[in-house]
Each structure stands twice: as C-alpha cells, then as structure tokens.
C-alpha cells in the first residue's frame, strides 16, 4: 500500500508506518505548516479546500492503513459533492506531553451523506487546528465568545481561509476498532483471560 511506499522513501525497514500522535500531528506538522517552515518528512499533502468525499481521498491524501491525512483550511461548513461533515460534540485540546500546554485543538466530524433525510455514515474526521488562544489573545477569551460570534456575523460573507488545519479521515470499523493499533487483545483472548479469572476466584462449592 501507500504505507510501504512512504517508509521506503525514508529507508525505513519494514514495519514502520505513519502512526502519529495528536501531539506529533500538531507540533511536527501543523505548526510547521502554519509557520511556513519546511515539514520534515513532507508526507502530508495539501488538499486546500477541495471538497473531496471521504472515499475519494485514496491517492490524494496520505493514506496509511484505513486512515488518510491531509492539510486543509479552516472552514465553517465542509460540504462535499455527496454530503457534508457534521461536527460532533466538544473540541478536545491537544496537550504537549512535555509541558502540558495546549498546543492545538481537535474537532470531530461525522460524514452525513446528502439526502432528503441525511444519512449518517461511519466516516470520521479529526480536524486539528492551532490553539484558539492565539486568535483571542488580544482580549479575555472567556467573555469574548458572544462578541466574537456577533463580530463574525457582522462581517460580510468572507471567511478567513488562512488558518491551516490538519485532517485525519477514517471509516469506522466497529469490528476492528479495538485492534486498530494491533496491540489490543483479540476478543477471544479476552474471553480466555476471563475464564482464567474464574479459575482464580474462590467459588462456593454449591448453591445455598
């Protein structure tokens, strides 16, 4: 697959794959991209604002296993030919393991296929962006949410596309989810371990 090609580009032995942590994605890739520094390794393509459907990413984004990585721009509504990315829940901060500082934010999206009654799919997107603090550092960030949104609404319909984001897209596979990193126990192993638990506990000899 594409994965092998990438590792060969770096003379990596077999078995090395692009499995970045959130922090690596933000620090090594997003920060450098935003700072216009050369990314090393320069493996993640910039898909700009092209509205690819998630299943179209193969060959365009960096593919690794069933995951695809690409740069894009911050955009309010990510609409494709056949659907749209619907934001899920809250944003998560991406922390630096060394300093515990927030180095980025992670937002979750679920792809809905366009229809009269839009259909949820199993396609997930993680969108990483630089911390919000940078943009709102001018004023107190806590009280500025309402003012900021009104400010945005007040503006003409011009979006700020200058903010880079880094996206990871994958199709959720419920059966394989647990084994995704290859380090998890198989279901069968869990059963066996449970059986051994039964062995270890003391059971009463009969029912009272």
């Amino acid at each position: 697959m594409a994965a092998a090609d990438h590792s060969h580009n770096f003379n990596l032995p077999p078995g090395f794959r692009f499995h970045p942590t959130d922090e690596e994605l933000v620090v090594h890739f997003l920060h450098r991209k935003a700072a216009l520094l050369p990314c090393h390794p320069d493996v993640i393509p910039d898909l700009d604002l092209y509205p690819y459907d998630p299943w179209e990413l193969e060959g365009k984004a960096l593919g690794e296993g069933n995951r695809w990585y690409f740069y894009s721009r911050k955009i309010d509504a990510r609409v494709t030919d056949n659907g749209y990315w619907n934001p899920l829940g809250r944003d998560d901060p991406v922390l630096s393991t060394a300093t515990s500082q927030v180095v980025g934010m992670k937002k979750y999206f679920l792809f809905h296929a366009a229809a009269a009654d839009p259909i949820k799919t199993n396609w997930i997107m993680h969108e990483y962006r630089l911390p919000d603090a940078a943009s709102s550092s001018s004023s107190s960030s806590s009280s500025s949410s309402s003012t900021r949104s009104s400010k945005r609404r007040g503006r003409p319909k011009r979006q700020d596309y200058s903010k880079w984001v880094l996206c990871r897209v994958y199709e959720r596979d419920e059966e394989k989810e647990e084994e995704e990193d290859g380090a998890e126990l198989s279901c069968l192993d869990e059963v066996f371990l449970s059986l051994e638990d039964l062995d270890e506990i003391s059971l009463p000899t009969r029912i009272q």
Binding site: R17, P20, E24, P41, H126, D197
Partner: protein
C-alpha cells in the same frame, strides 16, 4: 535514514514501528534465523528471564517517540533439560500462556503461530495477574526449513520439541483498560460495549474455538505456562462444575468438539449421567428451541444420538441472540448472582452489558435454571465424575 535502537538517530516524526504479524514472522524472524543482520537492530535480543516487562520497554525503545508496544527477539529455553516446556520466569514474576495459539498466515500459507501470555507478579500458583501481555510469534518448522539460507545449526536450534526452543519474536504491551480508551466522543459509543464485539466475533467461528477450548482437556495447560505443574486438569471445568447445576451445560461444552469421536473417555464420562438427570428439562434450558417430545425422549434414551444433538447445536448457532444466550449461560452459571460483584469477571463492563443484551426475556429462564440446578445437584450422585470433583471445596 538509519534507525538506531539507542535513540541516537531518529525515526521521522509520526512514524512508528507497527509491523504486521506477517512482517514480524516472514521478514524479521526469518532474517534472525538465517543470521541476516540487516535492519535487525530495530528489534533487540532480550533474555526474557532477566528482564521484567517494565524493563523491556526501556531496552526496546525505537527512537525517542512514545510507544505503546515493544518488540524483541527471545531465545526460548527449556524449563527442564528433559522436558519441552519453556521457562518464562523472571525475578519478579512469570509469563503464563493463555488461550489458544493463533495461526499466522501469509498469502493463505500458514507460516507460524502466535502465543498469548500474561505476566503475573509473584510466584505460581499465587501470582497476581498484571496488565502486561506478550504475543510470542514462532515460525513453523516447515517455513523455516524451507528458507534455504538456514544453516544446519539453526535448524537444530529450532529442534523438534514442538517449537519449545529457539528464537521467537515477541511483542509486549499493556492491556488497555476499556474505560480509559475513550479518546473521542465518537469512540465512547464504540468502546463502551466490548460485549457487542465479543458477540460479533462469536459469529465468526470464535464460538467454536471457545467450545473447543472448554472442551479440550489439558492441552493448553501443559503448554509451557510458567505456573508449576499441578492442578491444571480441573481448572477449566471447576468453575462450571461448582455451580452443580451447570453440569448439563458443561457437558454440552465438553462434548462439542468430540462429536466425531464419541468414544473418547472424557465424553463418555460426563455424558452418561448428565443425560439421565437432565433430559426432561431440555426445553427449559434452550429458549427458543422447542425440542420435540419424541426427539427429547430419543435423546434421553439414546445417549449417543449425535444427530439430534447436532441439530440442537445448529439451532443454537443459528443467530446472534442464541449465540449470546450461550455466552450468557457460560458466564452466569459458574457464579451465583450474589457473588458476581466480587469477581473480577464482573468488574469488566463487558460482563454486565452482554448480560443485559442477552438478558431480556431470560430472567425467568434464569430462575428456572437455578431451580433446575438444585434439582440436578440433588440428583447428582457419585456416579457423576464431574459432580464428584466439584464437591471438593476449593
């Protein structure tokens, strides 16, 4: 870019050593056996008896990036000069095999096996189970001898002692706590029910494996686990026996793999008395399956009516609900409800949730089951070898 285990040179950011099982066996272990050294500094040699799992992760660092799993070669040594078992004890504990070995394929060709081991702190039989898991990969003899590069000495290292000696490649990792893996709002809905996973996998033949596992005698116990030598024989049966009422179900499990060979002693032993006691209560035990009275009678009168039994099993395996029933029973039976809170089994979220999933209309069945249990235990006599064993206090 070169890789160094010492962390001096760098793996490019974002890249990790995540080999497939095929790569581990077909590329790395084969190279190791044929004395190639290229790339092998990615995977160091580790003396499993000298390093604790938490020390291994120090020794097996690749680059400076955080890792969730660690890889190493290990040379298996015999526990006793004359035996075939492997010594996997360390200063602080021991590795104990669990489950059944998994076959590793490459392009549909079998190339090796994977053994799963758990690290226990302390000494057998009082070891305390840890979260450290090891997958130990070994090449099949055929695939190693087929590789033309292997010198005579290495093939003797592989030996003929059931692969209990020689080089293996291992991966260790810490078992994830399911409650901690919620790394995104999306995955909360996924990971909260490992039971659904379990049930799904059961449709893919895992169930048969479980049955086989439960039915086999001591195959896995003699299979090189670190915990001494005794008492293995009854460990699989004892939790089920202890409920006394479980003997029928237990008998079913035991019998399943032996269908082709009804004459095996273990089958015969538990089969006879169980049918005598339990035959009439069959319809209670298997909800959704109406055993015709004639065939029930046939089953009771003819203990070796395997065709009828086969139909029974087939009906059980027909759907997920039925499958979950069996899990449900095998889960529930060994442990009286009042005890479940204290068992480590029920501390897993899986237990409660698949009980809930399977439960629904089986609450009443459950009570019937327990009343049946009393019936069965009162009926069981010393002629039943299983019940005889189970009456021994643990």
């Amino acid at each position: 870019m070169s890789i160094s285990v010492n962390g001096h040179s760098q793996v490019p950011p974002g890249f990790r050593f995540h080999p497939t099982e095929e790569e581990l066996l077909h590329y790395y272990l084969r190279k190791k056996l044929s004395f190639h050294t290229v790339d092998l500094d990615v995977i160091p040699d580790v003396d499993l008896n000298k390093l604790e799992p938490w020390d291994i992760q120090e020794k097996c660092k690749i680059g400076t990036t955080p890792q969730n799993d660690w890889y190493f070669f290990s040379h298996k040594d015999k526990k006793y000069p004359t035996g075939t078992r492997t010594n996997r004890a360390t200063a602080a504990g021991f590795w104990k095999a669990t489950g059944r070995d998994k076959v590793i394929y490459t392009n549909c060709h079998r190339i090796g096996m994977r053994k799963t081991l758990v690290f226990y702190k302390g000494r057998a039989p009082h070891g305390q189970k840890s979260d450290w898991i090891m997958h130990e990969y070994r090449l099949d003899e055929i695939s190693t001898t087929q590789s033309s590069n292997i010198k005579a000495s290495s093939s003797s290292v592989i030996g003929d002692g059931g692969q209990e000696e020689g080089w293996v490649v291992c991966r260790i990792f810490k078992k994830k706590n399911h409650h901690k893996t919620l790394d995104s709002p999306v995955s909360t809905t996924i990971t909260e029910s490992p039971s659904s996973l379990l049930l799904n996998s059961c449709n893919d033949g895992a169930l048969e494996q479980i049955f086989h596992y439960m039915g086999q005698t001591c195959k896995d116990i003699e299979d090189g686990d670190g915990d001494g030598d005794g008492g293995g024989g009854g460990r699989l049966l004892s939790p089920i026996d202890t409920s006394s009422g479980g003997s029928y179900l237990d008998g079913r499990f035991s019998k399943l793999p032996n269908l082709e060979s009804p004459n095996s002693t273990s089958t015969h032993n538990c089969h006879q008395p169980i049918n005598n006691h339990v035959g009439p209560t069959d319809p209670i035990l298997i909800p959704g399956y109406q055993l015709e009275s004639s065939s029930a009678a046939a089953a009771a009168s003819a203990p070796h009516n395997w065709a009828a039994f086969d139909r029974l099993v087939a009906s059980q395996l027909n759907g997920q609900i039925e499958v979950s029933n069996m899990i449900y029973y095998s889960d529930q039976l060994p442990t009286p409800p009042t005890l479940r809170g204290t068992t480590s089994f029920s501390s897993k979220s899986s237990s409660s949730s698949y009980t809930a999933a399977a439960g629904q209309d089986y609450n009443n069945v459950d009570t019937e089951l327990w009343s049946f249990a009393k019936l069965s235990s009162s009926l069981s006599s010393s002629s039943d070898p299983l019940c005889h064993v189970s009456n021994t206090p643990i």
